[in-house]
Symmetry: D3
Subunit: 284 residues, 6 copies
């Protein structure tokens, strides 16, 4: 179960509200690389964790809980960018001159409408659980496979794309407050990349964990097709690299190259059933 503190994880200050940047920040909330995704992913991995002990369940809960605070920070940043900040910013009129133009029906409407449609019309100038194009987050992006190694790689991928996004937002940001918030979030993503890789190391690293899942007796997989690169160029050329020769990463084989060709035959499904709603010509 959970507790909250109404203060933020880290300060969120916006000196000069910028509706266009608000919309960009939405990607970090409800984009597939965003914080709702990692938060819910770590929670579901924790809640479904099956293992001899509860160590990883426990650890995942720590970080999942941290991530709620990141969504909260970003939601606050979106709201502040969409309107005048309270108190000290009240006088600048920066936001008023822009957002006010939309609300009041004045120009230059074209400067922002495309950027904040649902933030304006649906939520009254607040954050929404959607990405920067207004597409709502879809929970099918929560990867929790029941396999701890697959999950850790999914988490590394999530924090890698997440940090790439945070860097892009940092590069696009003007506001010192936003730069400060993002330089904190970028740091947390650094840690989380390390953290999931640390689990993989603790579990024994590549040699102990690959191929994933390692609980499947590898002798049952096709021994002739598990370490060869399939070359599918029509002209037979092969892109040489670490993956075409030498020892495999798991140390269990040698990379080779297989000039691809069909190993099966043309499939023949035969005529359709009389009662299947097919066209008569298909029934023959």
């Amino acid at each position: 179960m959970y507790y909250h503190d109404k203060r933020l994880q880290y300060p969120v200050v916006v000196e000069k509200p910028d509706p266009a940047f608000a919309r960009m920040l939405q990607q970090a909330i409800g984009g597939v690389e965003g914080e709702i995704r990692v938060c819910m992913q770590y929670f579901f991995q924790a809640w479904g964790n099956r293992a001899p002990n509860t160590k990883y369940r426990d650890m995942l809960l720590h970080t999942a809980t941290e991530e709620i605070g990141h969504i909260e920070m970003l939601a606050t940043a979106v709201a502040l960018n969409l309107d005048k900040a309270p108190a000290s910013l009240q006088e600048t009129g920066a936001a008023d001159s822009i957002v006010g133009a939309v609300m009041g029906g004045e120009r230059p409407r074209h400067m922002i409408e495309g950027l904040i449609h649902k933030n304006l019309l649906s939520s009254g100038l607040a954050a929404m659980p959607m990405d920067s194009d207004g597409v709502p987050f879809n929970m099918s992006h929560i990867y929790a496979s029941g396999n701890i190694a697959a999950d850790m790689y999914s988490n590394v991928a999530a924090e890698s794309t997440g940090r790439v996004l945070a860097v892009r937002l940092y590069n696009a940001a003007h506001d010192p407050g936003m730069k400060d918030m993002l330089h904190y979030m970028i740091a947390r993503d650094t840690m989380h990349q390390q953290q999931w890789l640390a689990v993989l190391e603790e579990l024994g690293g590549p040699s102990a964990n690959l191929p994933i899942p390692n609980s499947f007796p590898q002798e049952q997989e096709d021994q002739e097709n598990n370490y060869n690169f399939y070359a599918t160029a029509a002209d037979g050329t092969v892109p040489e690299g670490r993956w075409t020769s030498g020892s495999t990463i798991d140390g269990r084989g040698e990379f080779t190259v297989f000039p691809n060709r069909p190993l099966g035959e043309e499939p023949v499904l035969g005529p359709a059933r009389t009662d299947s709603g097919a066209q008569g010509q298909q029934i023959g």
Copy 2:
């Protein structure tokens, strides 16, 4: 551009059609761990690849092209499981006794209807680009970030969950033909896990690539929060592990623990705008 051979990549034989297994196979076609996902992911990573040379673009095309053949194999397997197989199986009547029951309106309808609704009603007993619950594949699952290392980790994650799924299907399969097909696909997933990890190694491994993206000057990220584990348990307990002490995975720091607490203040958005459609009490 592309060419095809109407023969299959690998033989797909179904001795005893099983509509329930057909529905399970749908997960490997249109599930988030399935083959449409990896096929399209590798294609979009290739087509958008920006680099000093086209080496990785080239290599990605080889494997993306291979994956089309995997969707094709699975689609064939679904169709064969949903009806009588051609030729040699024509006489067994195995499928007819089951699927025929549905088509003809006979019992035991309850044995299968829940399993093949759209495969029966929408496609006439063929595969569809959806998962085992009938949810269509959504292309937001194609991760192509523009960062080669993030993409490789996404690919490792995809092939790991993909192999986990293939193993589960193998364990659930009865039919020798299906076991054979899956033991081949499991092997290809093994190779593809190796392949993407090989790219990461060729790029210099963790020390050269972390944190991702490595093109962001790390001194610009928050130096006090990039290598500490945030402990969020209300009682202050900490789950010790590789991630709480010792050198970090990238070799650039030491793991420490931070007993989490708010570093910011309570956000105050202030009253709503007069013209924002808020309730009067919010405007104050």
Copy 3:
């Protein structure tokens, strides 16, 4: 069954076409607060209504049918805003100077393209069943629970967010014709809010209907946790209000405060099954 009249429910006139406003109007068609939603919601509530008599089914059909006309009005308004209006507006060239700029490939393209992408590319300058960000309406938003009181509250919520949206559009509108159309729609939303609350009153009001569903014997619910506010602040503070003390709204209890704490234990799922595709380390 249904009939139509090709005339509109209420006049829709656009003096000066405005593609940006067209895109905003899309929210009222295919947004979650929009007219497709209420129309279909009332229809499905009517069609599935189970009751001793057909009174509410009957009444719902009246209003569902009215709502089709609202979608029609908005669709007409979008089309008129996207191109030159017929007849009297034909000469102004107002739309031509804007939309024409896009179609003809001239500038200032940036003024509109972001706003009308699919309305331009997919529908040829007409309305589409999507929201202001181009996200298609998803029918999961049709709430028809089979419980008349829950449905009425869902309807009040729908008409409340609907009127909030209509007011925001009214505030953003320039065109007198659009102002006129919206001042009519705002009025209809007023009535519909009243109408669903009137049903709740006719059913006996809060005391007769709460808690919803009232057909569940309340003595079977947890008597110690049904009227206490859970305070989850880590520092134990409580937000005092109507919900922390005094008689409850249904008149069946007294509000109290419960400083939240775990009442259960740490869940232990135990090791994974051998054949479940988990990592070996999870099987133990």
Copy 4:
């Protein structure tokens, strides 16, 4: 920001695992009436709350935080129903005889496969953020309008459909542990219905809040169409009720009946533009 306790909010015990019931419980996790929805809805309402003070923001955070614990309880219940419970249940073999049948490829496969497809294939017998049909939760269901009264009615609707769902699950449950968990959740839904209605009362009740939003000058809405029931039956019959006569709920008018008829004319969009991709016959 947030803290966690690894213990559950309330005990979750499953005496006899039941995969079919696990799938039903998914509706309470990822269904539109489920706990992810209310949790995220209250969070986004809090984070975007604009008001003269932070009272309601504060209160919403308390309950949003409580709801995370409900998702956690249900996720635990799903996992326990999908496999053998730990310790004391280890010997019963109840779950093994069913789930094992699937994993091991034995019959009676038809008893469960339709019910646990993705829970089996994607998550390794754990909960997922999807509904009972395997459809992932879509965040567009988070209603946070920026209007406190509209939000409260949305919340009453959510907790009403939520309690209806919990009652249906209670009625379908066999297991005493599941009955116990649900009788607790039903109680919490009772409180939350009261809580949001208490806010509406504190804000002044119907007369002070209707029509929503009350910040729009009501004299600007169409005064002839804001309190009349539109009768759309082709034969002119009218369903009499509280909504056809008498004082309106907000006390500002009298209900009347309007036999519906078109107030506008047939819309004429005119010929298509030459360069709009229309058929030549449409250009005329």
Copy 5:
């Protein structure tokens, strides 16, 4: 605008309720071949119709309006199949013995739960706007292109897949009442196929309408690649047919065969931008 009659378009009688068939009928309501789709498609085509006169707008409204009544019939059929029918069927107990088993928590639960999950849990045994797998209808399936010929072909396709579905349901139906309802719906689909083809004929048929859109000067399209079949088999074989030789359907050319080969070069996107969040190795 619209009117209703509370009577059904055609009688809907269910002699023996069948929850499994109810779920199959859902495909005809909310499936991509279903009635919501055609209803909304014809409405949006009508509302956005641009032409020298309103003839086709008018005609489309007639049929769109008819289709509302089809959704209504199917929704009624689903409700009747999900529970005991009123009056004369009250005594059979047919439905009670099945649905009652679920509601009351008795076996044979496995016979139906997979089939009626959301119909039971979300709607209280009524129809929902979703398909037979519980996937909600998504309005992106409303094809209204702004081109009358493209729309007519989309309509023919919709009514063709719709009639295929209705035939499959008819073949699967047991109940005489359901057979009667479906034999009516199949007939209406026949008419609607004719109707849209009649529009194409009235517009001048293939020679006048092809290629669609016919308003694009055909001399501006690539004259060397508009009537040749691209053969993409790696071995150069060509599937001979009406499409490889002879006069084209529009009478404007001759079919030929083009053995496919690349006409362009390998694309080179070059290094990534320094500030684009790419990996350093990509920047070079």
Copy 6:
């Protein structure tokens, strides 16, 4: 199975990068009229084709394979429009002055941000499988019905809306390279419209194929309602046309007009079940 050639199907050259046009091109990749759709549609139609011979399966594979190359061309075009083209364009700085403005945080941000949000933030200035509003492609748009005639009409519809889209893009394009690419794609759409109509002709044309499916004995459909136009105007007017009189398109009947009226009665579902979570008042 499949092969690739790393060269493009047709040259893709962008002289002057234009991020706004890049976003428009996205509609041709991931829009419902786009190339992913036709590619996957033809593949699934081929893979599930049931017929006495494999002729149409074979032919469909040729064209499906061709379409992969179209997605590739468009993805390349998007990438080139989003950044500076390599080599010869490197010096123009055209793209740098625009995209660089965003990346570097300079103005005129409003000129592009609305147009390239996810292309910038998620993919690093590359194409994504989504439409021009950033909505990801949803695979439910793959129509493969199991009926060859229904499929061919679906394909004609797809290529018709596809060519309409391509023409709109051509009309909006400035760049000679883009015009050249699109004039090629428009030509291929012309051929594909012909190709699917050629199949219908080879199958015997309308008289042999209608109504679809032609395998259902037409005498089992309602003979009184299969060739009459339902007139639903409340005032009884009828839109005369090819569909109201004369021989039907399939030559099997005469068109007539039916002034619509209810043929059924008001449905009565009766009271709700006691245990169904309905409100008590519904149980009666």
